[in-house]
Symmetry: C2
Subunit: 481 residues, 2 copies
């Protein structure tokens, strides 16, 4: 399965004449909308409110917030002209919205009564990566949600970071059937200007690369200092003493997941026939295809097909009928296999006579004849099975790539074998930079993915595979997207 081909052939995207910009077609947007439906409802339970902040950032703000913005600077697209006139100062298109939003947070927040402030927006952002773009995985414009929250205490902030990370895990594992590891990013890899970054990390066995699936950042008070976001804290003894100008800095989080999630799903499940969609995110879960034999009674067959689609739809199953007469059943079979529809129902005259239908699974090709009478429950069971089995299969493949290493030699060998490396590490910034430099190559260098929350025991005296210093943590390493 070659991603660049399958995403086009399955009508997920279309290439655009601007390199790195892609057209998201209905087959992608309907998956995005299904994920959004789940996630948006979950964060609204957490009292997140919808906002829309402008696409643009003034140069002046960009300059003032260098510490944070430097990370994005090389990728920022600048508007310098409108109509035929030059702008007095160039305007940046948001690569992310901290610098757009936080000056207003500073304006809106006066006292503890204005906290927590919880804000989310669904929009597109632009990161003009010069490195080779990849559809959905690394694109110059992509869709995402960005959550930005403000709290009075670090405790609230820490708690939310993990709550959101769990929602991201569920999107990947429960909806996209993609196994991910929750963990903490290294100092080198964390969000620019933040306190610490947690992430869910996926791994693509075919290419031997890790991929950051989503991040949930605790920004600490760094941005509060940068943007002067204070509040009068009634719990602060100084306040009680009515001391003048005594105000506390807020604690902030920011978190996001993007249309990259669809790309990770495509790479995880796709096969030689094309896309394989997990039922929970498949725009169409069941495609019914009549199989007309010579001199067969087509009207009778079509009627049955329509009844089946109706019955399944009534049961909340996303079913459709491909009754086009100008295509052969064989063509339709491979077409809907290419598009990854989880189940195909075939009906011909024999089935009609036997009051049964033939159900074919996309994931393993298994065929089974089912009596038309109890179709709904059978289909529901099959869809659940496919969802589970896609996840289990992906998990086994991913786990088979994990290699535990203790020494530099084992490490470099594992890097060459494109493994998902788990290694004891001293957790020092300089050491990671050194590892990158020493593994630099055509395929890119090895980096930390995350230090998984689920840590193996770190036996007393274990040393770092790279520096030989005492190991502080187990960390995932590998080449990545």
């Amino acid at each position: 399965m070659v991603l660049r081909e399958v995403v086009v052939n399955s009508e997920i995207i279309e290439y655009n004449d601007i390199s790195g910009c892609y057209i998201l077609r209905p087959w992608a947007m309907e998956i995005w909308e299904l994920l959004k439906e789940f996630f948006d409802a979950e964060i609204k339970k957490l009292k997140l409110k919808s906002y829309y902040f402008p696409l643009f950032i003034t140069e002046n703000v960009v300059q003032k917030k260098k510490d944070h913005f430097e990370g994005f600077a090389p990728e920022v697209a600048w508007v310098t002209k409108t109509g035929n006139s030059e702008l007095e100062a160039p305007i940046a298109i948001r690569p992310t919205s901290e610098t757009v939003m936080y000056p207003y947070f500073a304006k809106w927040i006066r006292s503890h009564r204005n906290l927590p402030l919880r804000c989310n927006q669904w929009c597109s952002v632009v990161r003009w990566e010069c490195s080779n773009p990849i559809p959905l995985i690394r694109s110059r414009e992509f869709l995402w949600q960005e959550g930005h929250t403000v709290f009075a205490t670090k405790e609230e902030s820490d708690e939310e970071v993990l709550h959101i990370l769990e929602l991201y895990r569920r999107i990947y594992e429960e909806f996209l059937a993609v196994p991910v590891s929750k963990g903490r990013k290294s100092e080198v890899e964390k969000f620019a200007g933040g306190l610490y970054t947690t992430s869910v990390e996926a791994f693509i066995p075919n290419t031997g690369r890790g991929i950051q699936a989503a991040t949930s950042n605790c920004l600490g008070q760094n941005f509060a200092k940068m943007f002067e976001i204070f509040f009068e804290d009634e719990n602060d003894p100084a306040q009680k003493k009515k001391e003048k100008n005594k105000r506390s800095l807020v604690w902030q989080n920011s978190w996001a997941y993007t249309t990259r999630s669809i790309g990770v799903m495509v790479m995880t499940h796709g096969d030689d026939k094309g896309l394989v969609l997990p039922p929970r995110v498949a725009p169409i879960q069941v495609m019914v295809i009549p199989d007309p034999l010579e001199d067969a009674d087509m009207t009778a067959i079509k009627e049955v097909c329509e009844t089946i689609v109706y019955t399944l739809s009534q049961a909340g199953i996303r079913a459709d009928l491909d009754a086009r007469e100008n295509y052969t059943p064989e063509w339709k079979h491979s077409h809907w296999e290419m598009k990854g529809v989880p189940l195909r129902i075939e009906i011909d005259v024999k089935d009609l006579a036997n009051k049964q239908v033939r159900v074919v699974r996309r994931d393993n090709g298994a065929k089974v004849d089912i009596p038309s009478t109890d179709l709904v429950e059978h289909v529901q069971v099959l869809l659940d099975r496919i969802q589970d089995s896609l996840f289990e299969t992906a998990k086994q493949k991913r786990d088979a790539c994990i290699e535990v290493v203790y020494t530099w030699d084992e490490f470099t060998a594992a890097v060459n074998d494109k493994k998902l490396i788990l290694a004891p590490w001293c957790d020092e910034e300089e050491v990671e930079k050194d590892v990158r430099a020493r593994t630099e190559g055509d395929l890119g260098s090895a980096k930390t993915l995350c230090a998984p929350f689920d840590q193996p025991d770190l036996v007393e005296g274990t040393v770092c595979f790279a520096s030989g210093k005492p190991a502080k943590t187990w960390s995932f390493w590998g080449r990545s997207y």
Copy 2:
């Protein structure tokens, strides 16, 4: 009611440091989401599919499609730099997406089997208007939906134009309680490059200006020619003769409504106390406010308030409780009046004793005591009444501004009186341009708004108010936003 103040005080928007860009706060976004929920479901019934096309347009396309793009050229924002390097050719940010989408329509459409093609996207667009921006009404970046559809025949195209226009009427009249007139735009005012434009037009009595509320365009085959969008037409006799290279041009529509709709609603219903929200789009329909008297049993009152909110919510009414102790009931009353919440429920100890609550209407201030027992049905009835009465009141005010004129003198007088002018017109482009020139002034010139579908009789021999030529139609005229 001054729009620029009320939209900020009611927390609909916040001003941004980039003039003409505004921050949409939850009070605006929740209204936008309620409208979207209705409209998106309706167009999905019409088999519209969701797409997302890139934000950017290459200069090359812009150049090739001058006829259409010229109209937007003065307002286009250009990206010329990414990171620190100049782009080889500047890239435009979409003011609208015809030029982004249609090259791909040409690629995707081969035969009648690919038709109709129905595409919609929810996104933001950028129009760098140099004239004085107005929050929501005329902003440099705004949110909208843009529908783009392709048909084999003009009949299908014409039919959809009107179907969509009716949905726009419903958004304004049934949801936002804003009266609008359906009609056809003049040649001068129609969508650049299209065949004809239909619109719903609103009028703001306080300012005496018309405002284009939404447009539904039939593009005819003009864009099909521009972008070479052909299909093999089985109904075309030439096809049946298997004549080579005989292909037909498609018929296209495009239609959109924007966050301007929220601005029109604000201007239509707002009063000196602030915003007045129609119940159907109010994020909160009922605000419950406890009114604690000295030595009152607050716990008892709060419990009752919570029960009320729960009961109303269970009945599908958007209700909330303002139990904050650091604000007086009076402050809360004016706060929620400013934000336009349709109904306020007050509860004090007396009410508690009498098992009743006091309900206050935002639109007319009417107060009524209702027994707690049958609260839900009373509230439901009141909300419906408010919705209807807001529309009726707005319609009466709008209709009171309509002035029928037959002569140039009557016309100029009506323009000065800021009327919504209905006049017999020869429907000639040159005449409209001439009227504009002759009415040019500090407040802007008078333009056609639309020729209403609902036409008064045009008595034989009636002449154009401006040219004296035979009148072809009745048309609405006035200054506009």
